[in-house]
């Protein structure tokens, strides 16, 4: 039987088609509450996988990730409020169907949010990456908080009152697309010489440098990419929630993302995805025990670190054949 040769373009088309279908079906099949949980899971997955690049792959303790999410959220929201909505109207006037117009402008917003966040990641990463372990953690924590405090003091984005009225353009398609994008990106990166360079830096930075790996460049690169995707996640969140408040991006949010990476297993992409889903569902499942929720959450962190610090999957991945295939199957003889 002849094996179909799945070229990369064919794979992309297939993914887009599936997401398009899901986007049409899910809002009909699921009640709004469950749909919301699914969307939030998706956003959490993007955050966890992006942080995994920095913490898991490269071994850099970054505990201010929420700051990059906030930058992406606020910058894209500002864009949409100032200019984006007008662009949509203009496109619609020119005959573009609403869904496509909104999608296109949202894409622009996502890229903007991601880029601004990436620039922030560069600015934070460059001076900080000379520092070791704990010190780096504290500096990233500091930066995350400074970003939040800055936002709280900028009147133009609502400061402590919050920023309402953001157009709600995020849907299953876009969240799904970014989830697939960041996951595929991570897998491809991991199984390449550049991924190996990152792992080498994590395992032994001195040895890596002695073998010709430009360690500082790679560490900064990991920061830039990780913060880019965090920014995109923030932008998606902004255009889903339709409202932003600085309190969504506190140190606690950064901890939640770290918890996902650690629970899944540092370095494991599928672990990060799995843990992100579990930890997003958990508060919903524990809704009945609202006051106990945070206590249980903190106990979970402690118990996890004591009993199984390597997380659910350690450094391994869930191995499914078509995730691990790195090159298109040669045509069957």
């Amino acid at each position: 039987m002849k094996r179909i040769a799945w070229g990369p373009v064919a794979k992309l088309v297939a993914v887009v088609a599936v997401l398009y279908a899901l986007n049409a079906l899910l809002p009909r099949l699921l009640n709004p509450y469950i749909l919301r949980v699914v969307m939030l899971c998706g956003i959490s997955v993007i955050l966890a996988v992006s942080l995994n690049l920095i913490n898991g792959f490269t071994g850099q303790f970054s505990i201010g990730h929420a700051g990059f999410m906030a930058i992406g959220a606020y910058s894209s929201a500002t864009f949409s409020l100032q200019a984006g909505a007008n662009w949509v109207r203009a496109l619609e006037a020119a005959g573009t169907p609403t869904g496509i117009a909104q999608g296109a402008v949202l894409l622009a917003g996502l890229l903007l949010g991601g880029t601004v966040a990436a620039i922030a990641g560069y600015l934070v990463g460059l001076p900080s990456l000379r520092l070791r372990g704990d010190y780096l953690a504290i500096v990233t924590l500091g930066f995350g908080e400074i970003i939040r405090v800055l936002i709280t003091n900028i009147d133009a984005v609502g400061a402590a009152r919050g920023l309402p009225g953001i157009p709600a353009w995020t849907n299953v398609f876009w969240v799904g697309l970014v989830v697939v994008g960041v996951t595929v990106f991570s897998f491809h990166l991991a199984r390449s010489t550049h991924g190996r360079a990152l792992f080498a830096i994590r395992d032994d930075e001195v040895a890596a440098e002695a073998l010709g790996v430009p360690t500082t460049s790679y560490k900064v690169l990991a920061f830039i990419i990780g913060s880019f995707f965090a920014g995109v996640a923030g932008a998606l969140f902004a255009h889903y929630n339709a409202y932003l408040h600085p309190n969504s991006f506190t140190f606690l949010k950064s901890i939640e993302i770290i918890a996902m990476v650690v629970l899944g297993g540092m370095g494991s992409i599928s672990g990060a995805i799995l843990a992100a889903v579990i930890l997003t569902l958990l508060p919903e499942v524990l809704r009945f025990a609202q006051e106990l929720r945070m206590v249980l959450y903190s106990l979970m962190l402690i118990v996890l670190m004591i009993t199984r610090p390597q997380g659910l999957l350690g450094a391994k991945e869930i191995s499914l054949r078509w995730f691990t295939r790195t090159r298109p199957a040669r045509a069957a003889r």
Partner: protein, 300 residues
């Protein structure tokens, strides 16, 4: 000019509080290379223990130094026990694990104390009874100091001198210093590393508890999340002075306190919390070893 000196008095007072808390951070880091995120929450517990003991003693009916002393000692004992429990059950098991695992455990303990506090004490603020009613004394030149501030300064001083004595002139102190250099070597010298680690935690918690009660005397409003900001600021103070360095923690605490009071007084109160972070970033980028510390490079 008298305003400046007034701010200085206030700054040194707050600085002493930060110093007391910072000492706990620095001692634990020196011994375990662990940032004890939960330390600020031990300070909070100190305030709460003090509150409950004060209420139990009916101290509001008979205010006085003796009552205050009892409250202080009770809170210190209570938090010493808490420090013991935290170390034994949460930190000891992860001592051999990676640094990140220990960091996350510490964060977990911090969240546990905060949210546990909300659960047990309730999220609404309580009011520390006025055990020592406030009286102002003039220092001349328009500068006043309250008796509460005097108490804070003198108790802090006594505790710091006591700590210095322990660290420099007792066997336990010598053992602490040995363990902070090298666990294995200390163990080979016959020192029980576990006991010294526990002792250090208890000592740090006792100091934090004292800080909590002292602050409660002056600023009576207490609530379960009150330890977050002071804990963070004290941590910055410890880093500022050189983390692991005991005199550094005192110096850092004073610098932190004075800077904060000055910025709030002369610039704007809304920057109060941001100063700590800015100071932190500056010190870590310019001189990570801190004012009195030594940055030890990795041996290749």
């Amino acid at each position: 000019m008298s305003e400046f000196f007034q701010q200085l008095v206030n700054g040194i007072t707050w600085g002493s509080v930060y110093a007391l808390i910072a000492l706990g951070y620095t001692m634990v880091y020196g011994i375990l290379r662990l940032i004890n995120f939960a330390h600020g929450d031990v300070y909070m517990l100190g305030a709460f223990f003090g509150y409950f003991v004060a209420r139990a003693l009916g101290a509001t009916q008979e205010p006085g130094l003796l009552g205050a002393l009892l409250v202080l000692l009770a809170a210190m004992a209570g938090c010493g026990a808490v420090g013991f429990v935290i170390e034994r059950f949460a930190y000891k098991p992860v001592r051999r694990s990676s640094r990140l695992a220990a960091l996350i455990t510490a964060i977990g303990v911090s969240l546990l104390l905060e949210n546990g506090g909300i659960l047990v004490f309730g999220a609404d603020p309580k009011f520390f009874p006025q055990i020592i009613p406030s009286r102002n004394l003039s220092l001349g030149g328009g500068v006043t100091i309250s008796n509460q501030q005097i108490i804070i300064l003198s108790v802090s001083l006594v505790l710091m001198v006591g700590l210095r004595f322990i660290v420099l002139h007792t066997r336990v102190g010598k053992a602490m210093r040995a363990v902070s250099y090298n666990h294995t070597a200390a163990a080979l010298m016959g020192i029980s590393v576990d006991r010294i680690v526990t002792f250090t935690f208890v000592l740090g918690s006792v100091l934090a508890a004292a800080a909590g009660v002292l602050v409660g005397l002056q600023n009576p409003k207490i609530e379960p999340l009150m330890g977050i900001m002071p804990g963070l600021k004290a941590f910055v103070a410890a880093v500022l002075g050189g983390i692991g360095n005991i005199p550094g923690a005192v110096l850092g605490g004073l610098v932190m306190g004075i800077t904060e009071v000055m910025v709030v007084g002369y610039l704007s109160p809304s920057y109060r919390d941001a100063i700590a972070f800015v100071l932190l970033i500056i010190i870590l980028l310019v001189r990570p070893a801190g004012l009195l510390g030594k940055y030890s490079a990795e041996k290749v």
